[in-house]
């Protein structure tokens, strides 16, 4: 990876960082922070699913672990929230490695892997909902104590910058993956596992590396969520909704690309908000937009918004060439 590879990331993050300077409306910032948390979740999924081709339907397992770890460590054990957040991300990595070890070692692939991850997430949800330590169905409240050293801020802008910093960090990480041997081997596993093995790729190690990184990133998103809303329960943290968000954003934005998850999250939630504003009181209208958008994306832009943009650009540059692209 060279400096030139990260220039677009730096430019994008710098531009986005200016947003709170001009926008101070809480509703807008709220929406942006939430979208960034989803983007971070999806970036985690994209490392494993987009680059590695291992479609997880249970990224809630990592999101929830990060969220609960951050909340419980400070609420129950009084650990500093920043430290709790870091431990939460590490716990996500550990859970990722564990689920990966169990399923990849048994050779689970494709829909079988998807189902097993879904099952893991559901088991964790039910456990978190039942155990006394996690507060059961009542969930965990994080005490309101607005101090920067407490990972709580008076302004939503500060939180936006932290979320943006994390998303930017993972953009760089993903770019590194794309340019590294690890990334080349991960993509090879996605494209053809047998061929990758024959070329000396330790496919188990590569997949474990991917799911561990993936778990860490998505757990960081969970920790951020807990810290922002100061409350988690089992249906939020380990709920299927977040697994679905994690899959949808990269598919809409562009699977296995650096910017795909961010673009997808912004497109999905941007459109969702706009329809909510436009349609007003119809409940669930934004979810219908999600569904419609997914159908349209799969039918007309199977390589996502970024892939579509690339194809359009190419066909503008050399008319007639797009048919072969």
């Amino acid at each position: 990876m060279t400096f030139r590879d990260v220039v677009p990331i730096i430019v994008l993050v710098a531009l986005l960082a200016l947003v709170p300077v001009f926008v101070t409306a809480n509703t807008v910032l709220n929406f942006l922070v939430f979208t960034l948390i989803i983007a971070l979740t999806a970036q985690g999924w994209n490392i494993l699913g987009g680059f590695g081709g291992q479609f997880s339907f249970g990224h809630a397992a990592f999101f929830g672990t990060g969220a609960y770890a951050a909340a419980l460590l400070q609420a129950r054990l009084g650990i500093n929230p920043w430290v709790a957040f870091a431990i939460g991300s590490a716990a996500g990595a550990l859970v990722g490695w564990g689920i990966g070890y169990l399923s990849f070692r048994s050779g689970l692939r494709g829909s079988y892997f998807a189902l097993v991850t879904l099952a893991f997430a559901e088991v964790l949800r039910i456990l978190a909902n039942a155990a006394a330590f996690t507060g059961g169905a009542a969930g965990v409240l994080i005490k309101l104590d607005v101090r920067p050293e407490n990972f709580q801020f008076a302004s939503r802008g500060a939180f936006f910058w932290i979320a943006l910093g994390l998303v930017g960090g993972v953009l760089v990480l993903t770019r590194w993956i794309e340019r590294s041997r690890f990334g080349a081997q991960l993509v090879a596993v996605r494209e053809n596992e047998a061929a990758a093995k024959a070329l000396g790729v330790d496919t188990l190690r590569v997949k474990l590396g991917a799911i561990t990184l993936s778990g860490a990133v998505t757990a960081a998103a969970g920790g951020l969520y807990a810290q922002y809303f100061l409350y988690v329960d089992a249906n939020i943290a380990y709920g299927t909704w977040i697994s679905v968000e994690a899959i949808l954003a990269p598919i809409i934005g562009g699977l296995g690309t650096v910017f795909g998850p961010l673009v997808g999250a912004v497109a999905l939630h941007g459109l969702g908000e706009i329809t909510k504003l436009a349609a007003g009181t119809v409940p669930g209208i934004d979810l219908m937009v999600f569904g419609a958008l997914l159908v349209v994306a799969v039918a007309f832009a199977p390589d996502g918004i970024l892939g579509l943009a690339r194809r359009l650009r190419r066909s503008f540059q050399q008319p007639g060439a797009s048919r072969h692209a």
Partner: protein, 247 residues
């Protein structure tokens, strides 16, 4: 270089490979021929590590590698191609080959440079930036060869790299294979195209119904009655001899 000792592979009740032994001498091209379903590809999977032998051993440079995983064997210096080509379809030709090159080169720029070199050697130079899925059959066969070669193997296992090619394409690729051998890579090849076997191989093994039934230089093996019968049925060798006398 490579020695297979009494390898047997059973799939349930089916014995795919039965007490097969063969040797590939360093710096040579060894052929493995036999009728369809003889167990040639299964024997290859035992050597490359995609299956482990039920009985017997595989030795590489004197070491027993029978239980090693495929990627470990690749690291030791064994590379294989697939009979049914297995390109990374979503990647370019250069990226395909670079995956192989990454085995010995950690840096992406080194791996890409290496991939370019190898592509030129097998005649894929002009296709480097094309998508692997856009290649012709001949191109895909060359890609299989290039990827395997990019791992810088000591032993190259070629599983019917010439199948599906037309005579002029075969004529083009034979010198490529010979050049690889001349660079010091030992080659073991499964091949049905006899023109190539006669042309390239110093030693040939014939596998039929899982057993090695003949071995030796290609010309001798082709006259072996057992080999003729394995391909054409019982009594065929005798009939051919009679026809030759009467002709």
């Amino acid at each position: 270089m490579l020695e297979v000792q009494n390898a047997t592979k059973r799939f349930g009740g089916l014995i795919a490979v039965n007490q097969a032994s063969l040797k590939a001498v360093a710096g040579s091209i060894t052929g493995l021929i036999g009728p369809n379903g003889a167990g040639k590809t299964t024997l290859f999977t035992l050597i490359s590590g995609f299956e482990t032998p039920t009985e017997g051993r595989v030795l590489f440079q004197g070491e027993d590698i029978s239980r090693d995983e495929p990627h470990v064997r690749a690291r030791r210096g064994i590379a294989r191609t697939f009979q049914i080509v297995q390109p990374f379809a979503g990647l370019t030709v250069a990226e395909n080959i670079a995956v192989g090159a990454h085995l010995r080169h950690a840096k992406r720029s080194d791996a890409m440079a290496r991939a370019t070199d190898v592509a030129r050697r097998v005649g894929l130079g002009p296709e480097l930036d094309k998508s692997a899925s856009s290649l012709t059959v001949a191109g895909r066969k060359r890609l299989e060869l290039a990827r395997a070669l990019a791992t810088e193997p000591k032993l190259l296992l070629l599983d019917e790299v010439l199948a599906g090619l037309n005579p002029s394409e075969i004529r083009d690729i034979i010198p490529v294979i010979r050049a690889i051998r001349d660079d010091g890579v030992t080659i073991l090849m499964i091949e049905h195209v006899m023109q190539a076997v006669m042309n390239l191989c110093e030693q040939v093994y014939v596998l039929a119904q899982g057993r090695i039934i003949a071995e030796g230089p290609p010309a001798g093996v082709c006259d072996d009655p057992k080999v003729i019968e394995a391909y054409l049925g019982v009594g065929a060798a005798e009939r051919l001899k009679q026809e030759k006398i009467h002709a």
